[in-house]
Symmetry: C2
Subunit: 354 residues, 2 copies
Amino acid sequence: MEYRKLKDQEDDVDAMREDVESRAEKAHSSAGINPLSTAGGGLGDHSRWKRKSIVTLALTFLTSSQAILIVWSKRAGKYEYSVTTANFLVETLKCFLSLAALTRIWRREGVTDDNRLRTTFEEVKVYPIPAALYLVKNLLQYYIFAYVDAPGYQILKNLNIISTGVLYRIILKRELSEIQWAAFILLCAGCTTAQLNSNSDQVLETPFQGWIMAIVMALLSGFAGVYTEAIIKKRPSRNINVQNFWLYIFGMIFNIIAILVQDFSAVLNKGFFHGYSLITILMIFNHALSGIAVSMVMKYADNIVKVYSTSVAMLLTAVVSVFLFGFHLSLAFFLGAVVVSVSVYLHSAGKLRR
Amino acid sequence: MEYRKLKDQEDDVDAMREDVESRAEKAHSSAGINPLSTAGGGLGDHSRWKRKSIVTLALTFLTSSQAILIVWSKRAGKYEYSVTTANFLVETLKCFLSLAALTRIWRREGVTDDNRLRTTFEEVKVYPIPAALYLVKNLLQYYIFAYVDAPGYQILKNLNIISTGVLYRIILKRELSEIQWAAFILLCAGCTTAQLNSNSDQVLETPFQGWIMAIVMALLSGFAGVYTEAIIKKRPSRNINVQNFWLYIFGMIFNIIAILVQDFSAVLNKGFFHGYSLITILMIFNHALSGIAVSMVMKYADNIVKVYSTSVAMLLTAVVSVFLFGFHLSLAFFLGAVVVSVSVYLHSAGKLRR
């Protein structure tokens, strides 16, 4: 049951990533991935498909390397930095990267209505909402552990997949074909199967309150994701870097509050950068880039793609960990991986043709 | 991990059923299900669909009640009768039921070319082949336990699902849509997931020889099933009861050989019916009827339907055992059941439309 280790660590990854996401959803680009930093108007089908593929692959790669960095940092026994200061730095870095991308665009294309930084209350008034939803979810997280243990919570978190699908349908009113719904149920079952271990059956003994909390948390998390997509897609021509800049400003504000509430005395006594190491810096860069990738996926693809991308990343992480850390994969992992793979195939085979 | 119990017992059910199947594949009808005993010519789409549904439901019901009878008989501690004599009685009973059905048909329709009992060497020369394949498979079964334990063998037996699908495609040249292939892979993964327990990972340590034997056995079993379908469908207008009669005659012959080889001294010393109880009689009737149901499914549906039917029966058995015997279902069982259910849906949703 070596695979459990990885799962627990992924829990942290997810917790941290959701923390990061919670402050606001992200974006940017600059440097390497130039096509992404353009406003996106007037692209052909092929270019759009290519852009969607690039951001999806980037998210998959970044999410799984995130998990691997966490495992690595824990192995090295270096995990004593404050998570709130790290999250603040992630938001700040994302903000900086968005501004850098914007600077390039302004130089190349000049300042237009779509890429100007100036905004209106009308535009940004909804930007803090996803962050607020994640905050409530993260608060609930402390209480759910009264009813479920950490590996059990990890299993229940797969409810996020279903809640995202349902809210995607209800709020964004985008349709999935019946085959795609079947694929989505399989994705949830497959991810859960891949995480099974000898203690998983304890989840079935979760008390009623635990189930309710898990469902509420799944709904909050799904709602935050779908709402972010709605915000970003509401103004399709608006430059993603501007949208991200404002989302990340709120992210920074929320993280300052978190530092004040949770870690103020520790930061005052030990210093802001106490416990930081090379791995911590790498993790902050990785979180910033994957945050931006999530935002790009929201802009150019959707929440469904995001869910598939992070699920596949979970499998990739486990496979890579076999080589890096000598983990053993369980039969349940193989079966789950088969089901997730078939689900990915069915999602694409089941596309609505109109 | 209470569910394990059931699984092990199902192993016996399957072993016995395959023993039964091995002698020859079955059929009949008479009494209750009258439409089934007609030759099947000139039926409308609706009637054909109805007949197919009835035989499929009958097979599902009989397979799962078979498993439940086995559990019950083990609980009652009554399992000391000789399996070979019981199998001989099953074949004899099926033969008798086929003849009874034929007698009714002859009285109603008169003797025709399609329902006459007289046959040619040309017609029956291939009838012993499935029985021979099962015999080889059952012999191999003794050797595979040198490499895998019983629960591990139970898991590896799910390879039958894949081998049946592949041989169905190759030998019967019937096509499945891509969605249906995906559904078939899911069926295999789902059934295996439903059977997972804390020791399942040992299967991954099966030595190379064990894997080869498991694959060969899956191919033999799949080939026997597909070949039986080919035999029965070769003469569509030939009455199923006549086809079954001849298959069961070979079944009786093979079982006499098995009694002579394996149980001759026991039968001579203790008597043919030693250890028989009410449950044994019920089990013999159940095996005879489900044997006939398998044959009907081969005639009016196909091997794919048979595989789905017995897989769903496996799930039903587990659920019914919760109420009958107080078994606990594992999380893996629920996940497997979800995957199997989605697979059933996809198989029907993915039908080739031409």
